[in-house]
């Protein structure tokens, strides 16, 4: 009995191996392989599953409407299981075995930084659809969401004017919160604002009583939160429990998306502010179409900025390939990205010469139903600055070389 089981298992494993090997190799005529590399398991999969879905949906849409000049996009999906080291090996596999033309993927800065050397060494392309802190430029990476200065530059003056000048920083203990807070601090100094407290908690923290205690005694006008993942609903819920009123002292965040807010009870959510280039409730025809298509395909999940950016990433790749024409060298495709414009669900976006996007940030406030309502939309797109002029004036611009 046990023996038969063992034999069956070995056979199954062998078959898996064989099928895995045979799926590699060069692509067929009329097909373009695209790597889709997100975590489908592990802690960050809560966010990344939706990003993978959105990218796959865009590939399907493009194929249904004729592909890239008649050629079909073929997605090769891999799961790096929230492990940056695995992201690097999977990226290598996609580039060397599957010979994908580009990879769309990554969430945390750790995952991007793990993939960066692989993509550079093999001279391939990575399209990274997450908001991030900047301080990076790789000619092989297209950064398809906002970089810190785009979220913060217009928003901090708005907060100081409309909410108040005394700010309390709360964030998870890693690079994005520290970098974002440094930028906000400099801006506050110029605007006559004041940082009345600064607390970092380990990633995954869900107990905030001591932080809330400190916020209460500091009496800020608003709390600037760079918390992510599970910490977001925990902090917002307990903020309310401890009697802090978000309608008077809101939490303002460049990192709390629809996905995390879904875990906040509506009473605790009301009044709090987030700022991104994209919100699910944006009123554009492209967004209506995008949300409807996603809903009918994957069900009633909240849709957030990283998902929209993953969707855009595929369309940007399509446009770049079309612009590149028959010359499919990495250099030519990368050059074709620069200056591309796209009518995305969030509105018009444009690839800048530093591989980041020109885009318009928006401010949204949570209403009594726990839904984001846009309260401010800036008129003009903001320039992406991986090294913000504010903190690093005159920093060298590697893309100009």
């Amino acid at each position: 009995m046990k023996k038969t089981l063992a034999i069956c298992l070995t056979a199954a494993l062998l078959m898996l191996l064989v099928s895995a090997c045979s799926s590699g190799g060069s692509s067929k005529e009329g097909e373009i392989k695209v790597g889709v590399l997100f975590s489908l398991s592990g802690p960050t999969s809560i966010v990344e599953k939706g990003m993978a879905n959105a990218a796959l949906m865009a590939i399907e849409e493009i194929n249904a409407s004729g592909g890239v000049n008649g050629e079909k996009l073929v997605p090769i999906q891999e799961d790096y299981a929230s492990d940056p080291a695995a992201a690097a090996t999977k990226a290598q596999k996609l580039i060397l075995n599957d010979k994908v033309i580009a990879i769309i993927g990554g969430l945390t800065s750790a995952s991007r930084q793990a993939m960066l050397p692989v993509v550079e060494q093999n001279n391939s392309i990575l399209i990274y659809p997450t908001t991030y802190e900047g301080l990076e430029y790789s000619k092989n990476i297209i950064y398809a969401n906002s970089v810190a200065n785009q979220q913060l530059e217009p928003i901090v003056p708005w907060l100081v004017e409309n909410v108040g000048k005394r700010v309390f920083f709360v964030g998870n203990d890693y690079v994005f919160p520290v970098e974002a807070n440094n930028q906000v601090r400099v801006m506050l100094q110029r605007l006559g604002g004041e940082v009345v407290g600064e607390e970092y908690v380990p990633i995954g923290t869900t107990e905030f009583s001591s932080v809330l205690n400190k916020i209460k005694s500091a009496q800020p006008d608003f709390v600037f939160s760079t918390l992510i993942a599970d910490s977001v609903p925990a902090f917002y819920n307990q903020y309310h429990d401890y009697g802090l009123d978000s309608k008077k002292i809101p939490i303002a965040s460049p990192s709390a998306t629809e996905a995390e807010i879904a875990g906040v009870s509506p009473a605790a959510a009301e009044g709090n502010i987030s700022f991104f280039a994209y919100f699910q409730n944006l009123d554009t025809p492209e967004n209506k179409k995008f949300v409807e298509a996603y809903r009918s395909k994957y069900g009633n999940e909240p849709i957030h900025t990283m998902m929209e950016a993953s969707y855009n990433a595929v369309y940007l790749l399509k446009a770049a390939l079309e612009k590149a024409g028959s010359n499919r060298s990495t250099e030519n495709i990368l050059n074709s990205f620069i200056g591309l414009e796209l009518q995305a669900p969030q509105g018009k976006i444009k690839v800048a010469e530093n591989n980041h996007l020109w885009l318009i940030p928006r401010i949204a406030r949570l209403n009594a139903e726990g839904q984001f309502e846009i309260v401010k939309e800036f008129d003009a797109p903001i320039e992406p600055q991986p090294w913000s002029e504010l903190l690093y004036p005159g920093h060298e611009k590697p893309w100009e070389k």
């Binding site: 398991s41 809560i46 209460k216 819920n237 429990d241 879904a262 009870s265």
Partner: protein, 285 residues
């Protein structure tokens, strides 16, 4: 800033830890099974609360009982199908429960989707004593932790099942010789431990979001409590929780959250080095 407030918060954090760790302590202490899927039983309880309160609009008490029953049932199933076959093989049990935790996480994701879910706080408002503010729901958690410890102590020391359970934990083979059905005791113990984890999940649901991966951090918490308190004693679990809860709050009061976490781990390492049997372990022949 208010130091008394920190001490009070420490009590409520300790109460949460007690509820989280007790189920783990029972399966670890009695069955010598390190259940790496403990956090997932907490998650099951939290999702049960979500179904009862947010979807079916039932009162929170129903959710508490429902969470206990659902988690206990799943626990029973897991014990019967997997863990029963691996007793005495610690390493294999570790691997098996790790596998179960991954399966349960993915199942939750298949059923409920990837996004975080919320349960509204069953009681709002707070109690003000001078400068100290305690949210009513936290008071409820403190009360519930005391009740759960009471019930568990009662079961362990005042019921026939508890007596058998304690004797199995002391000497399994003698119990078998004496005709105690140890397999049945194991199944029930595991079910009870899982049920307690389920209650923990339901209690935690309103103060945080519910996600399929929420169990992971509580596993570490439960482990630390049991290491500090000593394996196999409910009093040790309670005291271990109190120590960790207060330690974290007091250190965070004087410095930061991150240093509180670091110092806590150092404390745990020191305890392991100098008192590997735990701080509150009662010597037993």
């Amino acid at each position: 800033m208010n130091f008394l407030q920190s001490l009070t918060d420490g009590i409520s954090v300790a109460a949460i830890l007690v509820i989280v760790a007790m189920g783990f302590a029972i399966t670890f202490g009695v069955m010598k099974v390190i259940n790496l899927a403990h956090g997932e039983f907490i998650m099951i309880g939290a999702y049960t609360a979500y179904v009862f309160v947010s979807l079916l609009k039932m009162p929170f008490v129903v959710a508490l009982i429902g969470a206990f029953l659902v988690s206990a049932l799943v626990g029973m199933l897991v014990e019967y199908t997997v863990i029963k076959r691996l007793y005495g093989r610690t390493l294999d049990t570790l691997l098996a429960t790790l596998g179960i935790s991954i399966i349960l996480q993915q199942l939750a994701r298949l059923i409920f989707g990837v996004s975080t879910k919320s349960v509204s706080t069953p009681m709002t408002g707070s109690l003000k004593l001078g400068t100290v503010v305690i949210p009513n729901y936290r008071l409820f958690i403190i009360l519930l932790s005391v009740i759960l410890v009471g019930i568990t102590l009662f079961i362990l020391f005042r019921t026939n099942f508890g007596m058998k359970l304690r004797s199995v934990s002391m000497n399994r083979s003698i119990c078998e010789v004496l005709g105690i059905n140890t397999a049945k005791i194991d199944t029930l113990t595991f079910a009870y431990g899982s049920g307690l984890a389920g209650v923990a999940g339901a209690v935690l649901a309103p103060i945080r979001g519910i996600s399929s991966t929420m169990g992971i951090e509580y596993l570490t918490d439960a482990f630390m409590v049991v290491v500090m308190g000593g394996v196999g004693s409910i009093a040790g679990t309670a005291l271990g929780s109190a120590l960790i809860g207060e330690f974290k709050q007091v250190v965070a009061f004087f410095s930061t959250e991150v240093s509180a976490s670091i110092l806590l781990f150092i404390l745990v390492i020191l305890v392991l080095r100098f008192k590997p049997e735990g701080l509150f372990k009662v010597e037993r022949r």
